[in-house]
């Protein structure tokens, strides 16, 4: 596995507001960097820029690397980055196994079915291959969504407030499952909830005034 590196990222809104200026960080395989900040501080824009899906009206400069390979000019689909958003976005015209197979790369039919079954077993979702996403609970949907992302064999994981829509009781279970599953990948977590951040994570805060943040976990910095 390779590290995910962002160097000299500057994002500027059409009205001239600078969201971040010369931001740089590097995330090693297995490490988690939590990007924290209030709404509108540019957390999700940074993540969108890394995935290559940033709104074209936002001016951006900088480079993103995966190991020695620059991703900056690659189309989204060739960046090999796993993305999880607030909503699970399980495709409603596919069953659970079809959703997972959609993420899976390569293999014969039998191998693919086997991988799907094994991954469902590992997530405590045995026998749910043929279930429709709408029949799953919130926690089950979140796990299937993460499995789909991981089965696409990403080289880094980007999480945009993935736990915020889950109810409180489920959150800790899904968090644990996520950190276990992503243990070998460089992971960037965007959140404004301190409880989402695992103990071993580094934090990059986008709060302008650190005193405004009640549970400040790290210094303001342009580098992490």
């Amino acid at each position: 596995m390779q590290s995910l590196k962002v160097s000299d990222l500057t994002l500027q809104l059409p009205d001239g507001t600078v969201l971040c200026d010369a931001l740089s960080f590097e995330i090693a395989p297995g490490a988690v960097l939590a990007l924290m900040g209030p709404s509108g501080s540019g957390k999700s824009s940074i993540l969108s820029w890394i995935t290559g899906t940033l709104d074209t009206r936002i001016r951006a400069s900088g480079d993103v690397w995966l190991g020695d390979t620059t991703l900056t000019n690659l189309p989204v689909e060739r960046r090999c980055l796993g993305l999880m958003l607030q909503q699970d976005y399980l495709f409603p015209h596919m069953s659970v196994s079809e959703n997972l197979k959609f993420g899976l790369r390569g293999g014969t039919r039998r191998e693919r079915s086997e991988k799907v079954r094994a991954s469902l077993d590992s997530a405590g979702l045995s026998g749910m291959e043929h279930r429709h996403p709408t029949t799953l609970s919130g926690g089950q949907r979140a796990r299937v969504s993460l499995l789909r992302t991981l089965l696409s064999n990403p080289h880094a994981l980007l999480l945009d407030e993935p736990f915020s829509r889950l109810d409180v009781n489920l959150r800790s279970t899904i968090r644990e499952f996520t950190w276990e599953s992503a243990s070998t990948l460089p992971t960037l977590l965007v959140t404004h909830d301190i409880d989402d951040v695992p103990a071993h994570a580094k934090t990059l805060s986008l709060y302008e005034n650190q005193n405004e943040h009640p549970e400040n976990v790290g210094p303001v910095r342009g580098h992490a």
């Binding site: 995935t51 689909e77 909503q87 197979k101 959609f102 993420g103 789909r148 696409s152």
Partner: protein, 551 residues
């Protein structure tokens, strides 16, 4: 009260559908010898025009529908989110309002050998001094008709699809799909289109039935010998002694339409199975960059063709002298609009009389129906409104005409207006149903606790808040009425010369400039209605806000 009104509307709407079907079945099987003597089916099968006209209708109807679907899906994949998409969304609604007959006339002026497209490159590129003889419009293969249908139906299907896109999370699906390694076009074909197709299926089937049974556009753009099946049946119903054959043909047309619908559903299942198999393979495929450009060129060309066809109508309607190969008239005049009252004014007034009736009664009945549905007095009967859209007009109207003849009500103004109402009501109900069903009931509760009764809530709260969709539905009612050719022809007994009737009847025999004026007028009426529908509620709202601000 609302239940009674709902029942009356349902009965008034269903009755002509039942009567129309019965009126086609009874003469076809020889049970009405005084009106339709003989064995209808035998006479129909013996007619040498039967087989070629059926084959022509199948060819034009199926090809036009397949092309409409293909171009619509291609447009979505290739243009969604681009500047071209914004242009399409701005230009397509007015093009949708243009009646089929008017668009057909515009296309003839554009693509015929002496049309504008040839003029633009003549004599510069072609070196011709006379119109070329290489092709004619209408052509014997039905290709002009296919083009006309595609030009008219793509905006219909594309706008229906665009409206449904808001129910699918397009941006997020694209984002997730792309991070999973799929190109944008693959994301569209594997994630968005399968979800979207289920939502536009019914619209596609309506287009299919329309395309295989269209009459006015087929008369203007289709070949004459053999004509399409629906036009052939229309010629039979006007021939003495052949009504039974016409009725038998109308039943066959309905059966054929149902068979085609079933066929489409079977093909759809097969494609869905293949697509699921392909999707499950996880094969990422290549980005389809070339296809994207092809799609953009195709839809941009189609848009330009439609706009140019409309431009032709306007130019010919103000031309005094426009000889081949001039690209523009050499002499201009407003005479065609101002001093041909017999040819233009009378059809205009006749058209307006039906249109205003339909605007008032179709909008009123739709509101009354939805009110009764909202109050729980009537069930949701969406399937009922789709019936006249899924049964060929020829089938229903031949039967309806037979019954009108027996009851001696054919040719009466009210009979024709009633038919216009039946064909406009489904569109009005379906448009208003969305707004009515999504209306926040808390508005009603807020008014009720302030002491307002049912009528006060309806007229002071619900209708003002729903003014925009009501105005748009009224504009659609007007557009549908203005475009009605077959109901006016068959039930009007030649006594009601609307713009649609005058345009189709005069085509080919009357001066191009008069034809263009009639077609331009027929297009302008719904356009004006749509502009008014969009503008008046906004103007009223801003006037109110201004007066409140002053107060």
């Amino acid at each position: 009260m609302t239940r009674l009104l709902g029942c009356v509307i349902a009965v008034l709407f269903s009755l002509p559908l039942l009567v129309g079907l019965a009126g086609s079945v009874v003469p076809a099987i020889g049970l009405l010898p005084e009106l339709a003597p003989g064995n209808g089916f035998a006479r129909l099968f013996d007619d040498p025009r039967f087989q070629p006209s059926v084959l022509l209708s199948l060819k034009t109807g199926l090809l036009a529908t397949a092309l409409t679907l293909l171009i619509t899906l291609l447009t979505l994949v290739c243009a969604h989110g681009t500047r071209l998409w914004r242009w399409l969304m701005a230009f397509l609604p007015p093009l949708l309002a243009v009646p089929h007959a008017a668009m057909a006339v515009g296309l003839v002026f554009l693509i015929s050998p002496s049309g504008w497209l040839v003029r633009l490159v003549t004599p510069g590129i072609t070196g011709l001094e006379r119109p070329p003889l290489a092709w004619v419009v209408p052509d014997s293969g039905g290709w002009s008709l296919i083009l006309g249908l595609v030009v008219k139906e793509v905006p219909f299907l594309l706008l229906a699809a665009a409206a449904q896109l808001s129910t699918i999370n397009v941006e997020s699906s694209l984002r997730i799909g792309r991070t999973l390694g799929y190109s944008p076009s693959r994301c569209w074909s594997r994630l968005i289109l399968p979800q979207l197709y289920a939502r536009i299926r019914l619209t596609l089937l309506i287009i299919l039935v329309f395309n295989v049974s269209v009459v006015d556009m087929a008369i203007l753009l289709g070949p004459g010998n053999p004509p399409t099946f629906a036009v052939f049946l229309l010629s039979l119903v006007n021939e003495p002694g052949l009504r039974a054959a016409a009725s038998a043909g109308a039943l066959l047309l309905a059966a054929g339409a149902i068979t085609l619908i079933v066929l489409v559903l079977i093909i759809e299942k097969l494609i869905a199975t293949l697509a699921a198999y392909r999707r499950e393979s996880g094969h990422r495929g290549k980005a389809l960059g070339t296809l994207r450009r092809v799609g953009q060129v195709v839809v941009a060309s189609l848009l330009m063709l439609s706009v140019s066809a409309m431009l032709m109508l306007l130019l010919w309607s103000v031309a005094r002298r426009w000889r081949f190969p001039n690209a523009l008239p050499t002499q201009w005049t407003a005479e065609n609009w101002l001093s041909r009252s017999d040819l233009v004014l009378n059809p205009l007034l006749c058209t307006l009389s039906f249109a205003l009736f339909v605007v008032v009664f179709a909008t009123g009945s739709a509101i009354a129906w939805l009110e009764s549905e909202r109050a729980g007095k009537m069930p949701r009967l969406d399937w009922l409104w789709y019936i006249p859209l899924l049964i060929p007009q020829v089938t229903l109207l031949f039967g309806w005409q037979a019954m009108a003849l027996l009851l001696r009500v054919d040719g009466q103004w009210l009979t024709v207006a009633y038919a216009h109402w039946v064909y406009a009501l489904p569109y009005v109900v379906l448009i208003l149903a969305v707004a009515w069903r999504e209306f926040d009931p808390n508005w009603n509760s807020a008014a009720a606790v302030l002491g307002a009764g049912y009528w006060k809530i309806l007229f002071r709260v619900r209708l003002p808040l729903l003014a925009k969709p009501v105005a748009q539905a009224a504009a659609v009612a007007l557009a549908v009425s203005v475009a009605q050719y077959l109901p006016t022809l068959l039930l009007g007994a030649g006594r009601h010369q609307t713009l649609a009737i005058e345009l189709v009847t005069s085509f080919g025999g009357v001066d191009r400039r008069v034809i263009a004026t009639l077609a331009a007028l027929q297009s302008l009426l719904p356009l004006i209605a749509f502009v008014a529908a969009l503008g008046i509620p906004s103007l009223r709202q801003s006037a109110k806000q201004e007066s409140h601000a002053v107060a």
